[in-house]
């Protein structure tokens, strides 16, 4: 029951009590009631009102005693008067006793009510103080706090917000009709929001309001200094006892430092990734540089064939008895060889220039053959015979073609280098692809080289670890990072009866 309701109930009780007494002086009743009715505002102090009521009643009694009529026979009259008086006195006494009792009860009641009211006042005061404290907390806490009505109007915003943004309360709390012209217009307290983020924020804001779920988003918001800072804004619905939303309340905290830190971390990761890719490219170029002589040879071969075929073709055409069939055959060989040369160049081009990682479906066998084509000259130069054993119908893998080529290229060049010093046995390199279970493919390269030094076997994939006088120690480390980035594994095993086996496996496409 509210305070005003309590008050009117007390008044009603009071009126009921007054009515029961007024039965004895009915003529005064109306006046009394009228007096109370006309001055309810002054009847704030129930106890004092009761006293004045009592006085009125005593006066009414006096009036009644003098209203008994004239006395003719004195003695008789006296007796009569005494009797009357006695009667009157006893009646008066009785009535007075009743009245006193009523008033005592009433006084006790009123005192009780008074006490309740005093407690109420104290409670109100405490409540008001608590509210004041809460308001102070809300206004001064180092974060934004606000409430929004279910129709999207801000009806409270704390001082911290006004101070940090430099906005005025009037601006923030403006009535809906002053700012809302379209369904998704944002309330004015959002006016510091970065224009690039308004549309997104409005969508989330109104979405959260309409669904009643509240919202949260990160946006750059303008501070009083005119700069934008990242903020995290979050709102939850407040529901009444019936579960109906009567407000949304929210906070907004500056997360600029966090964003900056995140940005720094992301930036660092991005730069690291770029550096990794650049390093991979450089080692690829180094490997290609190593290959350049043999690649030049590789390209020169088809060029030579083209020139010779062209001469042949011209000869047959210029002959007194032209052999068109042979001329055509020579021309066809020319076209075929030119395509072959351009394929080699395209392959080199992709290995040299590619930096950004791209995933696509890759046929590992085709990839191995491509790299073997590129390294053909190098193998021949060092009298290495490649024994290629590719399992047919291998499942495709999802990966970066160039990176995987680089792995195979590095491993082949490594194997060749390991075999250069070998004189007493054939320099054979066995390249094998096979299925390893249902969801893994495995590629292995078994060379006839000097083998692995057991003391360094576990370090050969580390960056900058090298046993070669001119090595950078990057080749195998890059192989490992590429294979691992593809969800695979790479390892080196001692070969039987000699040499080393480098083996990597990659998951097939799920």
């Amino acid at each position: 029951m509210s305070r005003s309701q309590k008050r009117s109930a007390t008044q009603a009780n009071r009126s009921a009590g007054g009515r029961s007494q007024a039965k004895r002086s009915p003529d005064r009743r109306g006046a009394q009631d009228q007096a109370r009715g006309t001055a309810p505002a002054q009847s704030r102090r129930p106890f004092r009102l009761a006293q004045s009521e009592l006085g009125e009643r005593i006066r009414a009694f006096d009036w009644a005693s003098t209203d008994t009529g004239p006395i003719s026979d004195w003695s008789n009259g006296l007796r009569t008067a005494v009797t009357i008086c006695a009667d009157m006195a006893s009646a008066q006494q009785a009535e007075f006793a009743v009245t006193l009792e009523v008033h005592a009860r009433r006084a006790a009641e009123l005192s009780e009510q008074n006490e309740a009211l005093r407690r109420e006042v104290a409670e109100h005061k405490a409540a008001a103080e608590a509210m004041q404290l809460q308001l102070e907390v809300l206004n001064n806490m180092p974060a934004v706090a606000w409430t929004i009505t279910p129709d999207g109007r801000c009806d409270f915003i704390n001082r911290y917000y006004l101070e940090t943004t430099g906005m005025t309360a009037d601006h923030c709390l403006a009535p809906t009709e002053q700012w809302k012209t379209a369904p998704d217009d944002l309330p004015p307290f959002f006016s510091g929001l970065h224009p690039d983020h308004r549309e997104r924020a409005a969508k989330i804001f109104w979405g959260g309001i309409r669904s009643g779920t509240g919202w949260s988003f990160e946006v750059p918001f303008m501070h009083a200094d005119g700069s934008y800072y990242w903020h995290f804004e979050q709102a939850v619905p407040l529901r009444d006892s019936q579960g109906k939303i009567f407000r949304f309340m929210g906070t907004c905290a500056c997360i600029e430092d966090l964003k900056v830190a995140q940005g720094v971390v992301q930036d660092r990761e991005k730069r690291l990734q770029e550096a990794r890719e650049e390093l991979a490219r450089v080692t690829r170029l180094t490997a290609m540089g190593q290959l350049s002589a043999s690649i030049a040879h590789e390209i020169n071969q088809p060029l030579m064939a083209i020139v010779t075929n062209s001469d042949t073709c011209q000869h047959w055409l210029a002959s007194t008895d032209p052999d068109l069939g042979k001329a055509r055959a020579a021309a066809q060989r020319m076209a075929r060889d030119a395509r072959f040369a351009s394929d080699i160049i395209a392959r080199i081009h992709s290995l040299m220039n590619k930096t950004v990682s791209e995933r696509a479906l890759v046929d590992i066998n085709a990839l191995i053959r491509d790299v073997l084509d590129l390294t053909q000259g190098e193998l021949r130069k060092h009298e290495v015979v490649a024994d290629v054993e590719l399992t047919a119908l291998m499942p495709m893998i999802l990966g970066d073609r160039v990176q995987l080529q680089q792995v195979i290229l590095n491993l082949i060049l490594n194997s060749i280098e390991a075999m250069i010093v070998v004189q007493d046995r054939p320099r054979a390199l066995r390249v094998k692809s096979e299925l390893n279970g249902a969801d893994e493919i495995q590629v292995s390269l078994h060379d006839a080289g000097t083998g692995l030094d057991p003391s360094s076997a576990d370090r050969i994939f580390d960056a900058f670890f090298t046993t070669k006088p001119s090595g950078m120690g990057m080749g195998l480390s890059i192989c490992r990072s590429i294979v691992e980035a593809h969800g695979g594994r790479i390892c080196a095993l001692p070969g039987v009866p000699y040499g080393a086996i480098f083996q990597f496996s990659l998951p097939t496409r799920q």
Binding site: N300, S319, R380
Partner: protein, 211 residues
């Protein structure tokens, strides 16, 4: 070129190059045999040796230069025309010193190769003719008696009939009879002719031709 068509063997591990050379050599009416490697070449069964070998310097297994040395050691003198993708000077010097007809760097002009092959074939023909002469001489020499051979050997080093008779302890008349007999068998028309033939024989004795 007379008689049967010359045979040219091409040894190159690049299929494209082999086919191109085949086409080119065909235009000048040569029989062409193609081989991937030295082993392939050596393993082939043949009724007739090639007149010229077109040889890639860089090959799987033994290189072209190794093969040249190997042939030379085996006293096989088939003319060789080297072709290479990236020949350097030491390489070409070595090849030419070892008797190569030509050292061509790919891509070369068709005529360069055809000229080189032609001169190789001619050299082979000449050598073969020479060998036939020597073989005939050897046959003739073999028909001499021991005494006739001794007299021929002494004539060749410039001894007179008288000196020979003295040295062999026979009469001068007998010496003259043997000498006439030997010159007849050898087909020498004069003493100078006989000396030349004996020189040729002596030279051929140091190496045994096998091709």
């Amino acid at each position: 070129m007379s008689g049967e068509r010359a045979i040219v063997a091409v040894i190159d591990d690049d299929q494209r190059v082999r086919e191109a050379l085949h086409g080119l050599l065909e235009t000048v009416a040569l029989d062409v045999e193609l081989f991937v490697s030295v082993e392939d070449f050596l393993g082939a069964s043949r009724s007739r040796a090639p007149d010229c070998i077109v040889l890639d310097v860089r090959l799987p297994g033994p290189s072209g230069l190794d093969f040249q040395a190997q042939l030379s050691k085996a006293n096989v003198h088939t003319p060789i025309v080297f072709i290479t993708g990236h020949g350097d000077i030491p390489m070409s010097v070595r090849a030419m010193k070892a008797g190569a007809i030509e050292f061509l760097t790919k891509p070369f002009r068709d005529q360069e190769l055809l000229d080189a092959v032609r001169s190789g074939i001619e050299r082979a023909r000449a050598r073969r003719a020479e060998q036939q002469v020597v073989a005939q001489l050897q046959q003739r020499f073999a028909s001499l008696t021991t005494r006739e051979r001794e007299i021929v050997a002494l004539l060749a080093v410039g001894r007179s009939n008288k000196q020979i008779a003295g040295q062999m302890d026979i009469s001068e008349v007998t010496t003259r009879v043997h000498r006439r007999q030997a010159m007849q068998k050898m087909g020498a028309r004069s003493l100078a002719d006989l000396v030349r033939l004996v020189d040729k024989l002596a030279l051929s004795q140091t190496k045994t031709p096998s091709v």
